[in-house]
Amino acid sequence: MSSRPNKSKKGSVFGSSVFRRAVLAAIASLAVLLALGWLVHSVVRESEFDLLRAELSDTREEAEALVRDEGLEALASALAHDGRRIWDPDDLYFLLEEEERVVRLLNADDETLAGYPGIDPPGGLIDWYFLTHPDLGDEPLIVSREAISDDYELVIARFVPGRVLYNDEVMWLATLFLVLALGPIALISAYFTSRSVFRRLDAIATTTSAIGFDRIDARIPLSNKDDEFDRLAGGVNDMLDRIEALTRNLEGVTVDVAHDLKTPISNIAGRLQLIERDAGNPQAVEEHAGVANEHIGTLLRTLDALLRLGQIEAGARREAFEHFDLSELANELAESFDPLFEEDDKAFEAEIPPIVAVLGDRNLIAQLITNLLENTLEHARDGAKVWLELTAGHDHAKLVVGDDGPGIPANRAQDIFDRFVRMDPGRTKAGNGLGLSLVKSIAGLHGGTAEVVATEPGLVVAITLPNSALIDV
């Protein structure tokens, strides 16, 4: 499929809808991943803080008990570090290492009685408070500031543990990375997931556009994976085979129609010229006119048969179906044709049980049987045995018309139902090659089949018609 017959742009993976969908899917899955990460992270973080809060409240309870039992002074001295009630900024190194907490006891005038004066949070519990320290810099703390007795407040703070800070950092870094890399990752993963799908759809698109141009013989390559694409491609290919066969048949038929119409028309034209020439001779004119009329008759019969075929294949007559007595019709036709076979020196026998009815168009079935009998009448050898048999299956009727010679080549059995096919190459015998096409079309219209069951010693054709019934007698 190297040629590029139409002007439509060459499809690219990036412009395809499967690619866009894959990008969206990649973005969505990354977003879900991030959301999940942050959810887990916040749960872990919250439990860490719950622990810290519990420790703060334990410490506060201890302090309150001390104040209640022994007085404020006892608490102040308990808070002393290295004998100093008021802590140095340097003490914080140690406290950070050893105690992991900072305290401050202060009065209503903001004067520090004990602890570290540099910590001055607003009241209540604060998860994330930054202690300003000249050397340590900003250290995050969880801090509570509440009254411990009249006029006194106690500030208790614990350093947020390093692992919490570390987890936070990792999460932020991961988020930053994912957000920055999201576009490229989505594009790359989408490219790889959509590429194979795209390739296979593109193969289908390329083939169909090639067919749209002029290459009806183009077919979609199959991958042998037997997946949905192969099923699609297989279906399209089957459809194309059928369309191609129909098109080729139509082309053939058109040529045949032209040929079959041209012959009688040239004969008519010839006779008209003869009429002009023999204008003075009424007898000759009459003869020419007679011959011309016969050719016109041939022409009209061919056109009529073609129009009927068209109508039958369009299926319009199916609405008019009704049950009718097929046995009676077959008998009537057998009786009608019996003298014709006799005149033609052929032995005709009909075997028709009296009880078979079918759902269909009586007139069309009459034409079907007539065409089969006429075909035999024309093509069976002199002295041949010819038979018409009707049998009833449990839900279908079977009509068989056969003769015992000369038959047709076995490899042409399927061709006899094609339009304009004639087995005599010289086209010397009467007929337009549409009779058996009509037979097949009529059988098809009734949901039945027309088949060659034998090609030697003579031709035997079987018609099955569904929807049959036995008539109560």
């Binding site: 007679g290 009529d304 009927r308 007139n363 007539t370």
Partner: protein, 225 residues
């Protein structure tokens, strides 16, 4: 015969009127269905020829209207070569016969004659028909010629009956296919010819004078002359 022709195609109308003039029949030609219905209702015609495809109104619809209005004049409908369904709907609309264009004038004329003979208001068909020394008794389905009973098959009897009812008139092959076989298709074999020759072998051959004559390319005439 007095004939009304409703036909918008001038060439077809000329073809028909020339033939009818030669035969000595009277023709009134109108171009559309409305005019046709007015004329059909205001004068007495033996037969009406109505084209199926007319501007504005379909011939089958017009026929249905006229039949509902009580008109009993036989109607022959003309149609373009189209096929099988038209015929059924044409006859269902109330037309008495149906002819597909193109047709031979002899075919049309034979059908017109047959229609004109068929009297409106079911005048009792005769139970005994006689042509010369040939006598057909319809109640007994019995045929005699010169006092000698002829042994006919049922189909041969029906053919003979039809020929005798149209005594002296051309009966075409397609008319026989229509009436006797009920075919609306034309078999390519000599179905009609074969049956006619068998009939003639029984009706004419044993006797001095032939009653049935062949009109080459068209059909048959049964007459005593």
């Amino acid at each position: 015969m007095k004939i009304l022709l409703v036909e918008d195609n001038q060439e077809t109308a000329d073809f028909i009127s020339r033939g009818l003039a030669e035969a000595g029949d009277t023709l009134l030609h109108v171009l559309n269905a409305e005019e046709g219905m007015i004329q059909a209702g205001s004068r007495a015609f033996d037969v009406i020829i109505f084209d199926r495809m007319l501007p504005k109104m379909d011939g089958a619809d017009a026929t249905e209207v006229m039949r509902k209005a009580g008109l009993e004049t036989p109607i022959l409908m003309l149609t373009a070569l189209s096929g099988i369904d038209d015929r059924v709907s044409g006859l269902e609309s109330g037309a008495d016969d149906y002819l597909v264009k193109p047709f031979a004038f002899a075919e049309l004329y034979a059908r017109l004659k047959a229609l004109a003979r068929r009297k409106p208001l079911a005048q009792e068909a005769p139970t005994v028909i006689a042509v010369g020394d040939l006598v057909l008794e319809r109640t007994k389905q019995r045929v005699e010629r010169a006092g000698q009973v002829l042994d006919l098959l049922p189909r041969e009897y029906r053919i003979l009956e039809f020929l005798m009812l149209n005594e002296g008139q051309l009966v075409t092959r397609t008319m026989l296919l229509d009436r006797i076989w009920g075919y609306n298709f034309d078999p390519k074999t000599s179905l009609v010819q074969t049956h006619l020759s068998r009939l003639r072998a029984k009706v004419d051959k044993p006797f001095d004078r032939d009653l049935i004559t062949t009109v080459r390319g068209s059909g048959y005439v049964l007459s005593a002359q």
